[in-house]
């Protein structure tokens, strides 16, 4: 390597360095984000007692920083979104990759990408103007700005992620698996259900996880339609009440907070939690994909 490098012109050398530096910049940025969040968020643990943070009252003006209502809100909305996005997303992926004729696939795939490109604020806007009045009328609720409205919107936002990752996983299943099943007399349906899907299961699981990650991290749409009520509610009725997620709390309150105050630090602490959740989801998901590659290599060799 060293020998080669010395024989190159200095432009070549410089460019190699620049290219390498931009490669490593990804690590630098993740590190920067992590340390910055830590630096601004960890002081909250010193200023606010743990028992206060784990209480059920979020009322920053009077110094109540209980995170449980926000965590609960994120859980309820994300769970609802998952229940929408997983069956619909995986069903769509199977339909596109296994059933749809070629011409239909060429229409469906770009359409799903279009959904992926929708700005979430536009969906939130439609949620406020169309979806939540509809839910209020239809279900007879006092307000349509509920966790349910958030779940439905977030489900829609997570669907493109689930579809594209699950479809890649189904595409990666070797043709010979399907041929073998069909040759044994299985119908196409049995082949999908008992051979193709199980063979692609780690990829499908990755799709589900990334969809959940997308839902937890979504901010604008969910802030606009869930009614901004940081109150802890459990059980099924939580779905039909206003709520407030972790992401929405940061977005709604950071603008009005004094730099360096207790409130400011607690909001960064929520940011740390979101960062760590997405870190856990993404590392696990990429490890799953990695394992799948290993496994198929083992089978094929």
């Amino acid at each position: 390597m060293r020998n080669k490098a010395t024989s190159l012109s200095w432009i070549e050398f410089l460019i190699t360095r620049l290219v390498k530096a931009s490669g490593y910049s990804a690590i630098v940025f993740v590190g920067l984000i992590f340390f910055f969040l830590m630096g601004e968020g960890l002081p909250a643990l010193a200023e606010t007692s743990l028992s206060s943070l784990l209480s059920t009252r979020w009322y920053p003006i009077e110094g109540y920083y209980g995170l449980l209502p926000l965590i609960g809100g994120s859980l309820v909305v994300t769970l609802g979104a998952t229940l929408v996005a997983v069956p619909v997303g995986i069903g769509t992926a199977v339909f596109i990759s296994e059933i749809a004729p070629r011409w239909l696939r060429e229409i469906l795939k770009p359409l799903v990408e279009v959904l992926g490109g929708f700005p979430s604020v536009v969906l939130g806007f439609l949620g406020v103007l169309v979806l939540s009045p509809f839910l209020r009328e239809f279900l007879g609720l006092p307000t349509g700005l509920t966790a349910l409205a958030g779940s439905l919107l977030l489900g829609g936002i997570a669907i493109p992620t689930v579809v594209s990752v699950a479809e890649d996983a189904l595409d990666a299943v070797p043709r010979s698996y399907r041929d073998a099943a069909l040759a044994l007399g299985a119908t196409q349906w049995q082949t999908i259900w008992r051979v193709t899907l199980p063979a692609a299961r780690s990829g499908v699981l990755t799709a589900v996880m990334l969809g959940v990650g997308r839902a937890i991290g979504e901010t604008m749409a969910v802030m606009m339609v869930t009614g901004n009520a940081p109150v802890l509610r459990l059980g099924l009725e939580a779905l039909f009440m206003p709520t407030r997620t972790m992401t929405a709390t940061i977005a709604a309150e950071m603008g009005e907070v004094a730099n360096g105050s207790e409130h400011y630090h607690v909001l960064f602490l929520i940011g740390i939690a979101l960062f760590l959740i997405s870190l856990a989801i993404n590392v696990t998901a990429s490890a799953l994909v990695f394992r799948q590659h290993k496994r198929s290599e083992r089978i094929l060799s």
Partner: protein, 299 residues
């Protein structure tokens, strides 16, 4: 989840007649088709609805005028200009860095522990919630580096968020160029960088463009990262320098649909339609570039 995929064979044999198996298949396919329709029909419905509701608001005055009467009348020109500059600023930072990183991963890096770390970092950047980028951008660019709420701070925040999209699509495009192209160039005496610059990059240009546009599309439509880094609630003048705050379309839509009472619905729909059109036209351009390149590709 531990069952091997091949074991259910005996159960298949138990299925009674081929007629009932085909009936199951029909129901199953119908169900999957329904789920696909559930995904796709709302998308079409939303686009059509937005056009129908928003189109009457669109006029020359609306697109090029300044907001008046507390944003309840007039146009959205400052927001359009702001979003344009933010997208441009994001491109200036993210495109060279993203393509450079992709070149490193595809052409230079060997598969070692550091490369794997870079890949994990990219995956993580892609997964970080947009509002966390907003927090980070505020902490680092607005406060620590003292850029203030400005186009510069917002563009930098958005570029880090956009980076993973650009890196992964560009790397894919670079890897799609056959190895033999590189071998021939090197054997003719080309250096590694000459090979990349004259052979690999031109061949993968459509793929790179697609990735860049998709990344910028995301930046143009995002609201959460610019909430605390750029966005001005109401600023009826155009920015003069990268250190100015500015209005931006996504944030403006958020403001007029939740923060301003008595907002005429037509202006809201008009603004939403302009944003949607801006973003979706980028999406369509990317799709067209990709499909045309696929058809023309000879390898």
């Amino acid at each position: 989840m531990t069952a091997e995929p091949m074991t259910p064979a005996p159960r298949m044999a138990r299925a009674t007649s081929s007629a009932s198996r085909l009936r199951v298949q029909k129901i199953g396919f119908g169900l999957l088709g329904l789920l696909a329709a559930l995904t796709v029909l709302p998308i079409i419905a939303v686009v059509v609805y937005m056009i129908v509701q928003g189109a009457p608001a669109i006029s020359w005055e609306f697109l090029t005028g300044f907001p008046r009467e507390g944003m309840r009348a007039g146009g959205i020109w400052p927001a359009i200009v702001g979003t344009f500059f933010l997208t441009l600023g994001t491109a200036i930072f993210a495109v060279p860095l993203g393509i450079g990183a992709a070149i490193y991963l595809s052409e230079y890096a060997s598969e070692n522990r550091w490369t794997r770390l870079i890949r994990i970092a990219i995956i993580n950047l892609a997964g970080i919630p947009s509002v966390v980028y907003g927090l980070f951008g505020m902490g680092l660019f607005v406060l620590f580096l003292n850029f203030g709420t400005s186009i510069l701070a917002g563009s930098l925040t958005l570029s880090i968020m956009t980076l993973p999209v650009i890196i992964s699509t560009t790397e894919e495009a670079l890897r799609a160029v056959p190895q033999s192209f590189r071998v021939v160039s090197i054997s003719l005496g080309g250096t590694r960088w000459q090979t990349i610059w004259r052979i690999v990059l031109p061949q993968s240009l459509p793929g790179i463009l697609t990735g860049v546009i998709l990344g910028l599309e995301r930046a143009a439509g995002e609201t959460a990262p610019i909430l605390f880094t750029v966005a001005a609630f109401f600023l009826p003048r155009l920015p003069h320098s990268p250190l100015d705050a500015t209005m931006a379309l996504p944030y403006h839509l958020f403001v007029i649909s939740t923060q301003v009472p008595g907002m005429p619905v037509q202006i809201q729909y008009g603004t939403a339609l302009v944003l949607l059109a801006f973003v979706l036209s980028m999406n369509i351009i990317a799709t067209v570039i990709r499909s045309r390149a696929r058809k023309r590709r000879q390898w």
